[in-house]
Symmetry: C2
Subunit: 181 residues, 2 copies
C-alpha cells in the first residue's frame, strides 16, 4: 500500500495556528461552521492512524471531552516518558528520526497517516515528508502567533487541486505535493 | 462615492511575496497561468488609482517593459525626492500619515484604490484601512522570504466571499473586511 502523510488543519489568514497568547478561540469566530460538513469525517475515513506531537496530544488531553479519535494515535516525543494510564490503549509513544518512526508505523500496517501539530508538520516538511495538506483558512489576520510553516532548507512545490468556501466566510484548499517523476 | 482600499497580490503558500533572496521568479512556476484570466483586468477596471510603496514602484520601473498602468499611480514614500522625469505624468509622489494621504487622493476624485507593495499593505492593515484582498496563492512552501503580513496591534476579521482554482494548481481567494455596523 502506498504511504501517504496528510495534514488537515485550520490557520488564520496570516498563517497562524494559535494566536499570540497560544489561544485558539478565534477558530470559532463563525459558530455556524459547526453545522457544516467541512470534510473532516471524509478525511478521517481515509487515514489509518494519526501521528501528532506532544503539544497537540497534551492539548487534546486538556479538552474536557471524550477521547476524540477512533484510529490509533502515535505521539511523537523525545521528552514524554509515557502515555497517561487511561489512554494507553488509545495512544502510543514514538521517538527518533522521522524516517525510522514512519518505518515502524508502516510495519504495523498503518500507511495513510494524519500528521498533526505545528512542530510535527514543520519537521515533516523539512524532510519533504508531507504529501497532502487540507488547509482551512479562518479569515482573521491575527498579526502574530504560532505559525504553521517555518524555515525550510528548500522550497516545496504543491498543487491546489480544489478549493471551496463555507458560509461565504471560510475557505478550504486542498494541496497535493507536486513531485517530479 | 464610497472609499475602498483593495489589494490584489500573489503570495506563496506560506505567505511570502518574495523569496529569501528577494526573488519573484517562483511566481511563474506554472507558465500556463498566463493564458488564463485570473481577474486582474476586471479588478483594474474597478479601481480609480493605485497607491504603492517606493520598493514596488522601483521594481516596476526596473522591469524591461512599458509603463503597465493606465490609471494614476501614487507612490508613497518619505525618502524618494522625486519621480523620474519620464514618469512624471504617470506617477505622483505622496507622503505623510496615511489618513492625510488618502484624504488628498480622495479630494482629487480617486476613491477606489489599489494598494500595492508589502510594506504599504502592512501599514494600511496596521491602521485597519484595507477593505478587500484578492490573494492568489502560488503553491510553493518557500520556507522564508518577505512576508505579506506582519505584526498587528489588533486582529482583523475578514470574510472569504469566493475562491477558485486555476489549472488545478493555483488558488485565488477574495477576502472582504468584516466590520461591525
Amino acid at each position: 500500500m502506498e504511504n501517504r502523510n496528510k495534514v488537515f488543519i485550520a490557520t488564520s489568514l496570516d498563517g497562524f495556528i494559535a494566536d499570540k497568547k497560544g489561544g485558539i478561540e478565534w477558530l470559532d469566530i463563525f459558530p455556524a461552521i459547526n453545522q457544516v460538513d467541512t470534510g473532516y469525517g471524509a478525511f478521517m475515513a481515509q487515514i489509518d492512524a494519526l501521528l501528532m506531537g506532544r503539544n497537540t496530544f497534551e492539548t487534546v488531553c486538556s479538552f474536557d471531552i471524550e477521547w476524540p479519535y477512533d484510529k490509533p494515535v502515535f505521539v511523537l516525543s523525545n521528552t514524554l516518558k509515557q502515555i497517561p494510564q487511561p489512554l494507553q490503549d488509545k495512544a502510543k509513544l514514538v521517538s527518533g528520526p522521522l524516517q525510522k518512526v514512519l518505518e515502524k508505523i508502516h510495519q504495523q500496517g498503518y500507511h495513510r497517516l494524519y500528521i498533526d501539530g505545528g512542530k510535527t508538520i514543520q519537521s515533516f516538511l523539512k524532510e519533504d515528508l508531507i504529501d497532502e495538506m487540507i488547509i482551512t483558512t479562518i479569515p482573521f489576520v491575527l498579526g502574530g502567533g504560532i505559525p504553521l510553516f517555518s524555515e525550510l532548507p528548500n522550497p516545496l512545490l504543491f498543487e491546489c487541486i480544489s478549493s471551496q468556501t463555507f458560509l461565504g466566510k471560510i475557505v478550504q484548499s486542498h494541496f497535493v505535493r507536486h513531485r517530479k517523476n
